[in-house]
């Protein structure tokens, strides 16, 4: 059985085993070349590496303790002691931005990992089995999408008290709908294809067909939507934290740093302060979007380099 199986594998267009047997490196090389040709994508990737690096090494890079308050230095302008100034409680803005990057990226990556997992499983089941199961699951997706997400997020935060973990859980549990639709589409188009039929005839279990035969074909779009998804979650987290319903002070997050910006003292006397957190959000989300677009083109076999 195993023998026949292995012998047939190379006939399938693309699957996990396929990659490991033939042309694995070649495919990646082609993709990498296409990606590197996209200037914006490369800029995005470099920015991302820098931001992730800054987040990881925040304790070493930060000049001060991010929650240390020096009230005498409150609203200090950018200068020698405070490279990017100090906030209304006399905390160093640069240090808070660096530590805030950790929170934003952690929430972004962890939530998207969760929502991609849920969305892939549900989308795969709906697309592979079809019928009533598919109809029910897709109506649930439609219903969740109909809720303006901010309303839903805020409602859940009021119930489960905001913390990093509840935020991640909420983003994961309600953020999977897009991935589910995408994966379902891929499965619908592939489930009647010849290699799946062949696998069925060989008596391979549904689980195995779903995960090791069809899923690898859908990996490209999944990775692209994950990349764009991280940017989306970072924006949503910033919004919630700005409203005071996300990451709670004194833990710094780019969103809650902007919450304290809406204060006449800062608006009149420290106009530079609100610029930095907003700029960080902008750059990070932009970088994720550039990389996502670059990956989309790199994965698309119709676009040649």
């Amino acid at each position: 059985m195993t023998l026949t199986n292995e012998r047939r594998i190379p006939k399938k267009p693309v699957s996990a085993e396929d990659h490991s047997l033939i042309g694995h490196e070649a495919i990646w090389k082609v993709m990498l070349r296409k990606f590197m040709k996209n200037k914006l994508a490369v800029i995005g990737a470099v920015l991302l590496i820098m931001i992730v690096g800054a987040a990881i090494f925040a304790p070493m890079l930060a000049p001060k303790d991010p929650s240390q308050q020096v009230l005498l230095d409150k609203l200090a302008p950018p200068g020698k002691d405070y490279p990017l100034g100090a906030d209304n409680l006399g905390r160093d803005t640069l240090s808070r931005l660096l530590y805030g990057a950790r929170i934003s990226l952690l929430v972004g990556f962890a939530s998207v990992a969760g929502s991609i997992f849920i969305g892939t499983v549900i989308g795969a089941i709906a697309g592979y089995f079809g019928g009533i199961l598919d109809a029910v699951l897709m109506r649930i997706v439609d219903a969740i999408i109909s809720f303006p997400s901010l309303f839903l997020l805020i409602t859940l935060v009021t119930i489960f008290e905001p913390s990093i973990f509840t935020l991640i859980a909420i983003f994961a549990v309600f953020g999977w709908t897009g991935t589910a639709r995408l994966v379902r589409g891929e499965f619908l188009s592939l489930r009647k294809s010849e290699f799946v039929l062949a696998a069925r005839t060989l008596g391979i279990s549904n689980t195995r067909i779903i995960f090791s035969h069809i899923l690898p074909n859908a990996l490209g779009p999944i990775i692209v939507s994950a990349t764009l998804g991280v940017g989306g979650v970072i924006l949503a987290e910033a919004g919630l934290s700005y409203l005071g319903l996300g990451i709670q002070p004194p833990t710094p997050s780019w969103g809650n740093m902007l919450q304290s910006a809406q204060n006449p003292q800062i608006m009149l006397g420290a106009w530079w302060y609100p610029l930095f957190p907003g700029f960080m959000i902008l750059i990070t989300v932009l970088a994720f979007n550039f990389v996502g677009d670059g990956l989309r083109d790199a994965f698309d076999p119709k676009i040649d380099d």
């Binding site: 809720f147 809406q262 902008l282």
Partner: protein
Amino acid sequence: MTTYIIRRCLMAIPLLFLISVISFGIMKMAPGDPTALMMDPMIKQENLEAYKESYGLNDSIVVQYGRWLGNMVQGNFGESFIRQGVPVSELITARLPNTLLLMLVSTFIAFIISIPLGVWSATKRNSLQDYAITVVSFLGVATPNFWIGLVLIMVLSVHLGWFPIGGVATYGEPFSIWDRLHHLVLPAFVLATADMAGLTRYSRSSMLDVLRQDYIRTAKANGFRQKTVIFKHGLRNALIPIITIFGLMLPSFIGGSVIIESVFAWPGIGLLFMEAAFQRDYPVIMAVVVIAATLVVIGNLLADILYAVFDPRIEY
């Protein structure tokens, strides 16, 4: 056509049903029950039970859901926990006009800016303008719009004093349209920025699709002027897909109103929702969530029907 409209309306019913089930489920996850918030904590157990019985909190969950749904369909959203005795529907109807005004004006702004930009970008494909517009749209997608709001308030209101800092009207002044407009401009513009980038991209690609069609070439070959071809033959057809896009953008638009109304202290549904969220006033929270989701479903329904009306190529 009529059968399509009827079928499309019927399809919305299971969706609304699911929305109500999800909302009810979320409400039931909330810790404690209304009695815990409304009653004196020293209340005797038997009195508490009597209250629970009278509020129907001891009935089975299905019965509770049925009653809640029945009331809601009739426009009865219960009473606010915090402002006791005030019906939720009253709180909402008091704030709704402000939100609708804000959304209408900002939709108008988003369309009046994005569509011409998209068309311009499409007709001058790969030119400097096209690239500039693309870059700006990329930036627009990545910028949190509450931050744009903050920066605009800081620069235009606080430092330059051109616009009021927030609210719908100057306190204590008699009603004047000029004053209202003055307060409306900034929040409406900032809310519009949320979808302007996407709308510009869509109108650009929609216009490009249309410009590639045979009939456009025919029109050009017949010697119509460039302007006539673009605006009379092209634009009309390019606008059709944008109807659907508007339907898809509706959730983010309504959601965005929460944050923009908070930034500008605009007393609409979004601000009501935020106040309720901070006070854990669940009847108000749930009413707003259900109304918002229903608005989205209705908006999508209208978009689909309009699409069918405007695009004669689609047969049903």
